[in-house]
């Protein structure tokens, strides 16, 4: 181990190699703090050549490497590997170029998400993916997780908004993937890399697509006396041919938590509210807003408010944006889930979640991207109460399995990481998981990049509680049971 640190110190400045338990603690987890591991050391290279040299050393020494951005990830994707190296890309934090004619921004991976839109604003452009952590999270991490945000219903996820990547392979080779054109020859490796959770290569440069900033925005807030009616409202808007920029739902528990916190003026008696953002040119937004208001009323909204001005619109959004901290005030701890389901199942899945909540004796608050069916149930627990964390995790696992059962997925935008690795066994069969391992092996033959994340071993699936027996058939008959 000391030989790795020595070799790293030889190629990096002193302050760019962190070792010693106290200074390493900062890096022991990401935003999923229930999982913590101390790495052997943390390195902070300042340019591509240094990243490459770090990887070459780790490759030669057979040491695992976990790439890390801002550490805001919610699934433990950047959780260190014990005795491994954490490769922080924080120092690669420059916006290299903005080309307003081509509508592209070339940035280093450590650039904060929000700063791209800030830099593009003078040209009337913006970078669309806007995860809620956008003031802190970095573009490299966004690529690794295929991050979304509240506007991806209309503008897409990270995979839709990047044009090219430079990556360093585990062997230290630089690969250029994608191009400034609209496609590139060969396989779509850009898509394969996006959301690959740092398992296939280390992203060292990203070319982002910039979009014209909408001229006008309008926010509507609609209250419903049932979650089902709110779900119908969502379907009715889409059936009319309108794709809102954002379409968010909160249940009663969330409305009350938020209102107590930010006083956004939300209707606290409502079973659910919808926030609908429309954007475009002025005339379009005006006509669509009226149309959506009518649709919401005929879907059973008990009240529809249209923001009278920018300030009121911001107030409507303020509640949504404060939802997580608001929940943080009413519970000692909460556990955020990320399943995505076909929209038509929203009401029934929320019903199941409510039943599970009673069964596990833990409260739950629902706030989610209704437009694309991406749920974020927040399970309330207290880590100080013995057994509650374990119950919360089991409850969360059941929610994800429910999502898969109705045709959805265990993760819409937070990634699998270490958190949902057991549920991967529910969503994919042994052949599919094997193919994922083979893909990783194609990029990373020694298996050193972020090992143990995102794709479970078949052994783990066989052993984990996530194994289910459907119709008497074991899902992994070829695996030995213990």
């Amino acid at each position: 181990m000391s030989s790795v640190i020595e070799r790293l110190r030889a190629i990096l400045p002193d302050e760019a190699v962190i070792s010693g338990p106290e200074s390493l603690q900062v890096y022991e987890c990401d935003a999923l703090s229930a999982y913590r591991t101390l790495p052997c050391c943390v390195v902070l290279p300042a340019d591509i050549d240094q990243v490459r040299a770090v990887l070459q050393i780790c490759h030669a020494e057979d040491i695992p490497v976990v790439a890390r951005g801002a550490g805001t990830g919610l699934s433990g994707g950047a959780l260190p590997v014990a005795d491994g190296v954490v490769l922080s890309l924080a120092k690669l934090s420059r916006i290299l170029a903005i080309d307003p004619d081509l509508r592209l921004a070339r940035v280093q991976p450590g650039v904060r998400n929000l700063s791209v839109s800030e830099a593009a604003a003078p040209y009337g452009l913006f970078y669309a993916p806007d995860p809620s952590s956008q003031i802190a999270c970095t573009i490299g991490g966004n690529v690794a997780e295929n991050s979304g945000g509240v506007h991806c219903l209309k503008y897409g996820l990270t995979v839709h908004n990047i044009a090219a990547l430079k990556i360093i392979t585990v062997e230290g080779e630089l690969l250029e993937i994608g191009s400034e054109a609209l496609d590139a020859p060969g396989f779509d490796l850009l898509a394969l890399m996006t959301g690959s959770e740092g398992m296939l290569g280390v992203v060292v440069e990203v070319t982002l697509k910039l979009l014209p900033k909408p001229v006008q925005q309008q926010i509507l807030l609609a209250a419903f006396d049932s979650v089902e009616a709110a779900g119908n409202g969502v379907a009715a808007i889409i059936a009319t041919g309108i794709i809102p920029a954002g379409l968010e739902m909160m249940d009663n528990a969330c409305i009350r938590a938020v209102e107590a916190y930010v006083h956004a003026g939300y209707p606290v008696a409502a079973a659910a509210i919808l926030l609908c953002e429309l954007d475009g040119v002025q005339e379009e937004v005006e006509s669509s807003s009226k149309e959506v208001a009518d649709i919401l009323v005929s879907s059973g909204a008990t009240e529809v408010r249209m923001a009278k001005d920018k300030a009121e619109g911001e107030r409507f959004w303020a509640g949504r944006k404060a939802a997580f901290p608001a929940v943080g005030r009413i519970a000692a701890d909460y556990y955020c889930m990320d399943g995505t389901i076909p929209r038509k199942h929203i009401a029934s899945v929320l019903q199941t979640i409510a039943e599970l909540s009673r069964q596990y004796g833990l409260g739950v608050v629902n706030v989610f991207h209704a437009g694309d069916g991406n749920l974020h149930p927040l399970i309330l627990y207290d880590v100080a109460v013995p057994g509650e964390l374990e119950r919360a995790e089991e409850f969360g696992g059941k929610i994800l399995e429910t999502c898969v059962a109705v045709g959805g997925t265990i993760t819409g935008e937070h990634g699998v990481g270490i958190e949902k690795i057991n549920q991967m066994c529910v969503q994919f069969n042994a052949q599919e998981l094997t193919l994922f391992h083979d893909i990783k092996h194609a990029f990373d033959p020694p298996g050193l990049l972020n090992p143990g994340k995102a794709v479970p071993t078949l052994k783990r699936c066989a052993e984990s509680g996530a194994m289910h027996v459907h119709a008497g058939q074991l899902p992994f008959p070829e695996i030995e049971r213990f």
């Binding site: 080309d99 307003p100 004619d101 081509l102 509508r103 009337g124 295929n146 897409g156 995979v159 690969l175 250029e176 993937i177 191009s179 400034e180 054109a181 609209l182 496609d183 020859p185 060969g186 396989f187 779509d188 490796l189 898509a191 394969l192 996006t194 690959s196 296939l200 910039l210 014209p212 889409i238 041919g241 794709i243 475009g280 040119v281 002025q282 005339e283 379009e284 006509s287 995505t340 076909p342 038509k344 991207h369 991406n374 045709g407 959805g408 997925t409 265990i410 993760t411 819409g412 699998v416 949902k420 991967m424 994919f428 069969n429 599919e432 193919l435 994922f436 893909i439 194609a442 990029f443």
Partner: protein, 356 residues
Amino acid sequence: MSVNISNLYQELGERVIAASNSGQPLIIKGGGSKQFYGRNVIGEVINIRSCSGIISYEPTELVITAYAGTPIREIENTLSERGQTLPFEPPGFGDDATLGGTVACGLSGPRRPYAGGVRDYVLGIKCLTGKGGILTFGGQVMKNVAGYDVSRLMTGALGTLGVILEVSIKVLPQPEYEIALTRETDFNTALSQMNAWAGKSLSLSAACYDDGQLNIRLSGKKTAVASARKILAMEESDTGLDYWRQLREHQHAFFKDNKTLWRLSVPSTTGNLDLAGEWLIDWGGAQRWLKTDEPVDKIRRVTEQSGGHATIFRGGDHDGEVFQPLKPALMKLHLRLKQVFDPDRILNRGRMYQDF
């Protein structure tokens, strides 16, 4: 149709396994409308045309799932009945184009720069790999980051990674209103305007430069299109929206001869390329059709210097490399991925590159 599907899948799986045992290459065929695309291949035809039919379609979910052999025309008609569409405007190049072929070829029409390409709408795929396994990736929901994005990896892979059996694809509402506009101008002005307009909220859904004319299509809410029209101050085109349908399907006069047709995919602001021939500039400058007798090496070199890549689309030599050759490090990765999906190299062997 769906009652026999498991039998069909079993037959296809058995054929693939037999082929992989014997080393017999297979040519995957749907409607056969894009057999011209890619390198010439030899082998036995494995036809997926009989795997046809829409599996599920719920307009309010914005998703359609269908068997790969389903004609694109059937899908578009079904969507149209509910006021929806495939926003990437896939060219069919004939009535027989199928969903599977569309996804495997990864070709998109005039709306590509403004709405995204095939790969941006693919949500999930069921496929048969060269090992004979039937695997499912992605799903029917808009957001899904569980596992590597194999569905998009398969998109545009020309069947070299697997036989696509089923596809779930995101759909969008049809534009409420569309209009085709035109103006006579020179190339440089057209190019800078197409790029400048793409950076503004102008409801642009297509832009090309063809025979001295800058042609534009606007699509969207009627109010938005009206507002953009005022700003652009262009004439309404005589050929109307038909022009764009013809361009999408290569029925336009430009495509109706036997000259070698190249497709150059370049950054949209790329200036005049030093290649003699006839040009049609689509995708707001990003896709350039070129009929030329210039040497292959020169075309590839000039295109690559601009940051793009060149494909021999129709005519010319389809026994040599049709697509821009990959850098060695990227080719190595392609070979390793081919090894993962199709170790015996039986599926569309050589269709994309000679090496696999």
